[in-house]
Symmetry: C2
Subunit: 127 residues, 2 copies
């Protein structure tokens, strides 16, 4: 009989959470990341069950990188870490809202949010 | 020589905007929808070029419904309309942030946000 791991991070995602997820064909759900106090939307990333489990159990936001095909602990390389304050699932189960405390800029461009390119002006000027 | 449509909504998405999008295999980008003043994240939906174009030119948030395979003007049936204040693209072009003024509840459950199911407690109680 195998021993039950004592560290929650070593156990899989709780079935009552896993049952709520409606994953895309790649097994992923979208994760909207928001600064918990200012309300600023920082970025959008992707999680599979294991990334969500690590996020919930370690307190560090962990994603699945679709370009590199690997888990990615935000800030592990850059130092711009995300400390998880809350995680909420949407009504149809295919998107998460991850409330974090962001260290430094979340975007690789150095911007305070990855959503820094305005489109309304661009479309307006073209019409 | 065809006449140039005078109504911007009748013209396609401006090429300088379309060129910035990095669409998924279904031609879609994710759209994070946020209440412009409170900062509350309301929902996640999907847009193709045409939905984005309609959103930018009509001022009413318009999405592509992946379940119904049709365009969907938010609030057209429920009356819970979204008036667009700003649209921003993220650094890698696969997600939009749509800042809106939301009339009534955005969620079909009547909640003030679609992200109303907490997961931290669920995972914690299972460990």
């Amino acid at each position: 009989m195998p021993a039950v791991p004592t560290d929650p991070a070593d156990r899989p995602l709780a079935p009552e959470v896993a049952d709520l997820l409606r994953r895309d064909p790649d097994g992923l759900v979208a994760a909207v990341v928001q600064q918990h106090d200012s309300g600023e939307v920082l970025m959008l990333a992707w999680m599979d069950d294991e990334a969500l489990h690590r996020t919930l159990t370690t307190g560090r936001a962990t994603y699945w990188s679709r370009s590199r095909n690997e888990y990615w602990v935000k800030g592990e390389t850059s130092g711009n870490r995300q400390w998880v304050r809350d995680v909420r699932l949407d009504c149809d189960g295919d998107a998460l809202l991850v409330l974090v405390d962001q260290e430094g800029p979340p975007c690789h461009t150095g911007e305070r949010s990855c959503f820094h390119r305005p489109l309304v002006a661009a479309e307006g000027s073209a019409s």
